[in-house]
Amino acid sequence: MSRTRHSFVAGVKDMLPILIGVAPFGLVAGVAIINAGQGVAESIGMSLIVFAGASQIVAATLFGDHAPLWVALLTALIVNSRMFIYSTSIAPLVSDAPEWQRPFLGYMLVDQNYAAVMTQGRFRDDIDIVPYYVGAWSALFSVWQVTTLVGALLGNVIPAAWGLDFAVPLVFLAMLAPSLGNRTAVGVAVVTGVAAAVLVPLLPMQSGLIVALLGGMAYGAWRDTVAQHEGAAR
């Protein structure tokens, strides 16, 4: 198997446990679009054009609740604004890609393949990042398109009482744990976690998440700066 192909397959494989959480999430998104008074064409269009789960559910739900269009749009964009930070963060790792591929690599970026590259892919010597990332995306994309369509056509075929949507935070937790290797990283997790717990229910338009993320980033940068100065003083 060529190195590119091996990398692509590794990306697909690393998504397999994650897909258990993506599938019920996709069903919910499909159901949300139908509940907003829209049809199968809108469900397919939204999953293809937007391809960002949480924002699709938020936008469709607000639209269905007769919120002003600009409120639904702005809230969904705030939900997705973390992807600007992901894109800035992952850019150096995919900078081998030719210029024409970059707009497509951007389109492919979601939480799951970002997290897989940053917590697993970039530490492996046996793969190239770009095909690994595209492989992870292809698995996510296929399951997302199929499950949102199934949700739109059949409703939520997995009973909500099973709580399979909880697989999403569980998998992110599994990816987080190996990154907690030093005191600063643990501090960043605590600061971000406390901020998210307090701010998410409090702040409007789902902006608590992004404020918590920025707070954690700032804390980490501050601790690193202090540590560097202490190191220099010694």
Partner: protein, 112 residues
Amino acid sequence: MSATAQFWLLIVVLGAGTWAMRSVPIMLHGHVPHPPWLERLLRYVPVAALTALVVPGSLYLKANGAYHAVPARTIAAVVALVIALRTKNTVATLVGGMAVLWVAQWALALVG
């Protein structure tokens, strides 16, 4: 404008805005300066982002626009964190966390 036309407008503008946010930094890399302070600020993005994705879903469920505490999920998340730190294994964390969630839901239903 019909509701369907409005929804398509929402899809297209949201799609374009989201694409711009996720693509522009990748497209501009190497064409704009990448100062050390930015590097430092970005270093803990994976840890902060993953935490921000885990915590709300482990504490709350949103129903009818309001956040409700879900103790069964919180208990399951704490056990899953211990499993994740011990095993560093995604499947073990997923299976363990879901199993604890189901047991905790059943036990809390008996109590409550």
